[in-house]
């Protein structure tokens, strides 16, 4: 397996000496689905932001191929209220200077992946919270990302919508074969989605790396002993930190 991102001894401290990442070292395999869980303030979000180049670490190395195309989904949909669904998804491509036809194809494909082709002319205010999140996901997917960073993307949605989006995301991941780094507060979501779950401690260290062997992800998996055992292991690793569970 080739590597998508190699992180060596990453440290991040903010101006007021608050350390959020301490000696974080990990290699993310290409095409893998990794979930990152941990208590609030443990540096999960900082890690994604550093890897995506939005933030500079205090020290440490990030090896990522220069041509790697990146998609990013935030906790909020972060849509431009005055642009239609289509134009929101198209914007990053337009900024990158792709030609109009290619943009049209890519946007239509991405909207098809998230099931929103028929809403492409709607404005964000006309959409539900789940739909807005799908648009946000489509915007990331339209860039044909090699690596998809997702920072608690479905955290603000209701349970049913989230379960549906989790399944859709898995479908998309299998089809697109991109590398996904998924930060979440929810242990069951991490267990259901990821092949590996990284548990971080409150002082920003990588505490555990839990693999999930099963390939199938469906209702049966949710009620399987493996799912429950893994979920328990992650929860225990989090030291019953209430914020994280």
């Amino acid at each position: 397996m080739s590597l998508a991102i190699k992180v060596t001894n990453l440290n991040m401290a903010y101006a007021d000496n608050i350390e959020v990442l301490k000696g974080f070292t990990f290699a993310f395999e290409a095409g893998s689905f990794t979930a990152i869980v941990g208590p609030s303030g443990c540096g999960k979000s900082s890690l994604l932001r550093i890897l995506a180049g939005l933030q500079t670490p205090s020290s440490g190395d990030v090896e990522i191929n220069q041509d790697t195309s990146i998609g990013y989904v935030f906790q909020e949909p972060t849509l431009l209220a005055w642009r239609t669904v289509f134009d929101n998804v198209a914007l990053p491509l337009k900024i990158k200077g792709l030609d109009k036809q290619l943009i049209d194809t890519r946007v239509t494909d991405a909207l098809a992946l998230v099931g929103l082709v028929d809403r492409q002319l709607a404005l964000p205010r006309e959409l539900s919270g789940g739909m807005k999140m799908r648009v946000s996901l489509a915007r990331a997917l339209a860039q044909n990302p090699d690596v998809l960073f997702m920072d608690e993307p479905f955290g603000a949605l209701d349970e049913l919508t989230r379960l549906k989006l989790d399944d859709d995301l898995l479908d998309i991941w299998r089809r697109q074969k991109c590398t996904i780094l998924f930060v979440t507060h929810t242990v069951s979501e991490a267990t259901y989605l990821a092949e590996r779950v990284l548990v971080m401690s409150s002082d920003g260290q990588l505490k555990d790396d839990i693999k999930i062997e099963s390939d199938t992800r469906n209702e049966a998996f949710r009620s399987s002993p493996e799912f429950h055992a893994t979920r328990l292991a992650i929860t225990q690793s989090l030291e019953h930190n209430r914020e994280a569970v």
């Binding site: 180049g53 939005l54 990013y72 431009l80 209220a81 900024i95 990158k96």
Partner: protein, 253 residues
């Protein structure tokens, strides 16, 4: 209801005015009845319209340059902290110094042969500031997440400006423009008062002139036109807001 209620109140007030002037036998040079004002308006219609046009053009030019200058300076300030720190105190100084006090200086500098230009500058000083501050506030309150989307897309500064900052600031810019539209009119009136007789023949000057001649009805006629101009400016802005923002902005729900 929205239109009939204020109209009814208006008619009632005008009717009462007409009646009380006759009932108390108030002299026409103190308070003319509405019928006299209407009469003066019709009698001097052509010359009042010419004056209206003068005031309107000063207001319009001042407003136009306030809009261009205010937005441009706000863009400059948000691009460079250095420029903002250097210029901001002087912009504030210009704003807080009463314009009536600077107006005579401006007239002297620009020259009495260019009264029109001087009046535009005076009105511009009054109108400029709300656009600047509102645009600044609008650009600065753009959501950080949206900025990160632009950053991740590799947007150049001007792309961020065109695709994100200006549209996001549009509601604030329009609010500033609405205030500035009214202020430009006030500025034009102040400028006409200061510029005095001779070259200036705008509505404000007509008010002074008619007052000197004790033609109070004509004074009221000019005043009515000024009010109407102000009302038109205000509602024109509301219309533009409605056209540009109604589909996406929260203020139109």
């Amino acid at each position: 209801m929205r239109f009939t209620l204020p109209l009814l109140v208006g008619f009632a007030l005008i009717g009462f005015w007409e009646w009380i002037v006759g009932f108390l036998a108030i002299p026409i040079f103190v308070l003319p009845p509405p019928s006299e004002i209407a009469h003066a308006l019709i009698e001097n219609f052509a010359s009042l319209m010419a004056s209206l046009f003068v005031t309107l053009s000063v207001t319009g030019f001042a407003y136009f340059w306030a809009l261009i200058g205010g937005v441009a300076l706000a863009i400059l300030f948000t691009r460079s902290r250095f420029i903002e720190l250097s210029l901001a105190p002087y912009v504030v100084t210009l704003q807080v110094t009463p314009v009536v006090a600077i107006a005579p200086l401006i007239l002297i500098w620009v020259g009495f042969e260019n009264t029109n230009r001087a009046m535009i500058i005076i009105a511009w000083i009054v109108a400029f500031f709300p656009i600047l501050t509102n645009t600044l506030q609008g650009i600065r309150s753009v959501d950080n997440g949206l900025h990160q989307i632009m950053q991740l897309s590799g947007a150049k500064w001007w792309q961020t400006l065109i695709y994100l900052e200006l549209p996001a600031a549009l509601p604030s810019i329009l609010t500033g423009a609405k205030i500035s539209g009214g202020l430009a009119l006030i500025g034009a009136v102040v400028a006409e008062f200061v510029a005095g007789s001779g070259t200036s023949t705008g509505l404000a000057w007509r008010i002074i002139e008619a007052g000197n001649r004790l033609e109070i009805a004509t004074m009221f006629a000019a005043l009515t036109l000024l009010s109407l101009l102000g009302i038109v400016i205000y509602y024109a802005h509301s219309l533009v807001e409605w056209i540009l923002l109604r589909r996406w902005h929260e203020s139109f729900n």
